[in-house]
Symmetry: C2
């Protein structure tokens, strides 16, 4: 399940130049095309590579404000709250965390004023007891995976 060095190189290459083709990858890495193809297939069926969906920037879509909200859920209402939050487009992700009935969600909004609307919509639901929101000011480390891939590849190598 873990990846070896070649897998790591493949992932790094893909991350740097995503539109690169299989043939070009095989040239860059100095291996046969069939090998690249087989590795890629394996990584995908392994689940290591979930997909190649476009990475969309919410800010460019008109949602420049990001916030994280910690929610406290009334016992037994978890499923309802999850279903509710899933219907809000501005909820980009949702996690349940340690601490009985706690959730953490990532929100975006069109402005700070708009964030209020989003939060109202999020917490305007019966099962939510309390919510604490932290607005994101800077994002010094955007979501990344390459350093982890490299470490995983080294561990296995």
């Amino acid at each position: 399940m873990a990846i070896d060095h070649l897998d790591g190189q493949l992932l790094v290459l893909l991350a740097e130049e995503p539109r690169i083709g299989v043939l070009e990858m095989s040239r860059r890495l100095g291996v046969a095309r069939g090998t690249v193809q087989a590795r890629l297939d394996r990584l995908q069926s392994n689940g290591v590579i979930r997909g190649f969906g476009p990475q969309v920037d919410p800010a460019a879509l008109g949602y420049p404000v990001t916030a994280f909200a910690t929610l406290q859920i009334r016992q037994g209402q978890g499923a309802d709250v999850r279903a509710h939050l899933a219907t809000v487009p501005e909820v980009l992700e949702l996690h349940t965390t340690t601490g009985s009935g706690d959730m953490l969600c990532r929100l975006v909004a069109r402005s700070n004023a708009d964030l209020q609307r989003v939060i109202d919509r999020v917490v305007g639901f019966d099962g939510i007891v309390r919510a604490a929101t932290a607005i994101v000011m800077e994002n010094p480390v955007p979501l990344r995976i390459i350093p982890l891939v490299e470490q995983a590849a080294e561990d296995r190598d």
Copy 2:
């Protein structure tokens, strides 16, 4: 800068079948190939589409544990802390948030035990005053963008 309906369809299509080609997209959407190409180019130079990097699952890499850590930073140490956290592969993202000197970071680890090691490494740095960690148990809504894309497309349409 906002997107219209065709842009929205393009993004949805790409999200569903990322390896689809320009030609096939133009067939599906019933527009000319050149149009798809031009739209895609525009979305990319717009910054709406950041890229098409592979979405790697940390769990499949051997890091099944995710956690969020809230850090309190000593005044004036922000830059140092950022630089420090950027060197830790297990730090997948880092945000500075409202509340002077507060940061939120996403961590992964090989196990709950390993999480302790990661946290020690994260907080074992001078500028960090205090850290609170919440371990993720479930992820009812994985990072998504499509609902927001659809809303943005409708708003503009």
